[in-house]
Subunit: 602 residues, 2 copies
Amino acid sequence: MYTIEFEPVGRRGQCPEGESLLDCARRLDVDIVSICGGVSTCKHCRVQIVSGSVSPPTPEDSATFSETQLKENYRLACTTYPQSDVKVLVPPESLSAPQRTQVEGLELRVEPDPAVRCLEVQLSAPSLETPEPDDQNLWNALKETYALNQGRMDLKVQQDLSSRLRSLDWRAGVALRESEIVAIGADSTHWIGLAADIGTTKIAVYLIDMKTGETLASRGLMNPQISYGEDVVSRIYTASKSGENAQKLQALLVDALNDTIVDLCSELDMDPSHVVDAVVVGNTAIHHLFLQLPVLQLGMSPYVPAVRSAVDVKARDIGLRIAPGGYVHLLPNIAGYVGADHVSMLLATGLDEMEGINLALDIGTNTEICLNCRGRMKSVSCASGPAFEGAHIQFGMRAAAGAIEHVRLSGERVEIQTIGGESPIGICGSGLLDVIAQMRNNNVIDSSGRMNTHPLVRTRDGRKEFVLVERSDNGDITVSQKDVRELQVAKAAIRLGIQALLEDAGVTEKDIERVIIAGAFGTFIDVESAVTIGMLPPLPLERYSQVGNAAGTGARLALISRTARRSAERIAAKDGYIELASIPDFNRKFAAASSISWTTAD
Amino acid sequence: MYTIEFEPVGRRGQCPEGESLLDCARRLDVDIVSICGGVSTCKHCRVQIVSGSVSPPTPEDSATFSETQLKENYRLACTTYPQSDVKVLVPPESLSAPQRTQVEGLELRVEPDPAVRCLEVQLSAPSLETPEPDDQNLWNALKETYALNQGRMDLKVQQDLSSRLRSLDWRAGVALRESEIVAIGADSTHWIGLAADIGTTKIAVYLIDMKTGETLASRGLMNPQISYGEDVVSRIYTASKSGENAQKLQALLVDALNDTIVDLCSELDMDPSHVVDAVVVGNTAIHHLFLQLPVLQLGMSPYVPAVRSAVDVKARDIGLRIAPGGYVHLLPNIAGYVGADHVSMLLATGLDEMEGINLALDIGTNTEICLNCRGRMKSVSCASGPAFEGAHIQFGMRAAAGAIEHVRLSGERVEIQTIGGESPIGICGSGLLDVIAQMRNNNVIDSSGRMNTHPLVRTRDGRKEFVLVERSDNGDITVSQKDVRELQVAKAAIRLGIQALLEDAGVTEKDIERVIIAGAFGTFIDVESAVTIGMLPPLPLERYSQVGNAAGTGARLALISRTARRSAERIAAKDGYIELASIPDFNRKFAAASSISWTTAD
């Protein structure tokens, strides 16, 4: 009997000797596509073995995968048999229920004023009488039409200039970034921009119309670096070990973005070369891994970033395939564990411009929180851990089809709602918040989190568990005492972060006028449940607002507005940083914050 | 019997069946190093077969060369036997007499004010109390020490920043280009710059001290593109045929520069990463081939450059290995056949600042001439051809050891001077000018260039030839009637160019107050001989000055002076261009200009 873990769904279970990965996945309700029914003819059930050992490749595998893929342990799940505990990555295309990654966020409320302008010009063909060099010819036309002074032209654009102008019959569309020409196309070219929010676990990608600011296409995907560790600390460790590792981690991100750009562009009947600008945000570690900046010092006290400032790099210098001369802009970081995604979230929510006392937080594997107390901004980062993503929770899973996302308990009656309305296969973060809040409300657990006697609480192998869903086929879905403890630790970190900011500002919870909850996870939680378990302060519910992926929205803003880029710089410079681990009396406060009954200190 | 041609010496001769390349080279006085005496033990006589077929590689070849080298037809000359007419490239290291390429030029007379400044700073190590991000830490120190505002930092510098600052114990030397940090080293780093003049045939490379402007090392080498044609037209044709060709031609130049940088740096006990800035000049075609810009339109009417403006590119974008963030600056071009090297020459000679009527010319395979007539500057380009480099001349060769460079004839007595004082093996350009001038002075040829009866003129195979050196072993060195004709065509192009500029300005030859002769070839010619054969106007000799490689000097100036870069822009914008082929009555004028007696029209 081996333990098998399916990523990115985050589903774990037992697999008896002799059971194929496909059968095991089905039994655990991981919905791998298999049209032929497991007789290895449809070749759809492709998976990657991330760790552990399995049966050797079959002739079907060899016929299906390239040499490189075989070396990277790609297999057909239907003919692969575990020979140890195994971690399996199910690529998106092999999953029948589309992975649910939040890309929606706030609407963009700015007048487009992008760093890259898109202009049309008409040139005159050169002749022996006026043998105008091609570059001068173009600059002259830009001067005549737009009163622009001569600037620079990217080398790749220069290398293509003469043939391009001639094939376009001297009528061209020009993408001008500040004073540099970064692309030339037909005068009718529809220029687009890329915004990406790279989270530790998930990535949100947007393609934006550079003229209108409209979001033309978007997609959520998993961060492929997850195969190198669920949290950033293990990735920092991996990247620090060798330049090769750092390069591999960087390439994983860029390859994922490149593939997504190709897909989204083809949906729009466009080409990646039409993407003339890009903005990427992420936490400081992701930011550094993406640019292949040094990360060793991020993992050691005093945890300083290599680079705090906003960065502009040629996309080609990091392998991102967009327009030949296009740049990638990265918003500034604040500190080692408060990064560009936090700045982006603050930019999108407008927290820095609010009057009074306001709080914004982006809940995730790391939760960043910012308090704007009458114009004075301070941020804190809390290691809330991956419990909200389903990790370390017995029946935990990510927010994918079949995940229990909402729970109501009345006496012995349990009501659940699953994502996609499908049969329940596990519990995602918002479901976990709900069930534990309901358990507390119904006195299934006490304020310390200990399970009481209750008709739905049973003891198995000497351990108490709460039966959430009874199932005849695959066994029941339960919440263990340990699951409750995991959640307590995660929520305590967040509550303590809020508390630290308030103490630093000399105000109390009840003074908070508004709490903005950002991020994919935060969008789907029941705020009342979060308050019940003491993750968030017990404020009137109308003071809370859930704004979706605000970091992604900030990236989109910075893509289409130079004003937004300047605002981000101002926010990063203005926002102070508190090191949570260095607050006095940390351990006692942490213990207090982990209490389920701990509602307010005010 | 096969014809063998040895490059870069430019020596041709016959090779009987069964004679090795080494023996053939020795017989023709091409001085290939062979310490073992041709028994293939010393492995010094390495050559590359550029065209034609030879005996297959021997076991000695396999032991000496890499697979790639063998595929590129590298062989030991001592065990290689021609099987057809063969063109052989003798690499510099296999030549005993160092190739003589002029790198000397005018002294630099400017106060250094380079685009790249070299600064030293002391930082404070970050702590938990002041966890300053590394980039901010550096900018703060630059602000404190030099009152500099924060600018940008190259990505490669950022990628190395954290480990570099720590290994240097927070004391660093910074190379700052305008507002961008392009390199970081020890505070004691000796930063240097690269200047290169890439000619159609020869390349001059200089390493310059960025603080003092002093030339620390220099080297002349052959342009390896010569294997794709002696003139730029054939290289334009080759590069236009495919992107692969264009890339190959580009890589040849960059590889040659990279190798030279490594060599020169090691002479100075430095490292290529200390080279923080570079300036490259060349004619428009070379400029375009070096940047892999489109050249097809350069070869077709109306012969327009893709790029006229000065160009700044990251060295890494074209494969040049200097400091990680270093740039290459290319001076502006003027027209399709008047390029950045001409601008550089004008910059170095200061022609644009001279009062009155002054002429400057750089004689080469293409000869560019500029007339500054009372502040009005016009240039012309003449296809003078490769005769001055020894091509198409029976005993012609480049200016290498053993070349006859000066000749005096009195009656039947010939006096010669060879380069390096070695036994004569051929005639280089300056020797050819001399001998034909002497032949005219002694009435061996008439004003039309036809050979008269003379004791030293003999007839062989029905063709007249002038015996310059009698040799018992390798046959006599002679000048043929055809050689005279070749020189007449070359010199006519130059004289006609001068004439066209004067006519355009409405002045005459005698009005010229000063003639500046630039370029390696121009430095070694006897001006009196050049006047005698009618290549240059018959002005008092004191009006002529020979200034060496002025294009190289201009490149060095632009490297250490931003003022010089601005001057170059001004010169390029100011200098007009005359298309020689479009002047009225071209053919008649050309015929007149080819007369040996054609001294002046004034």
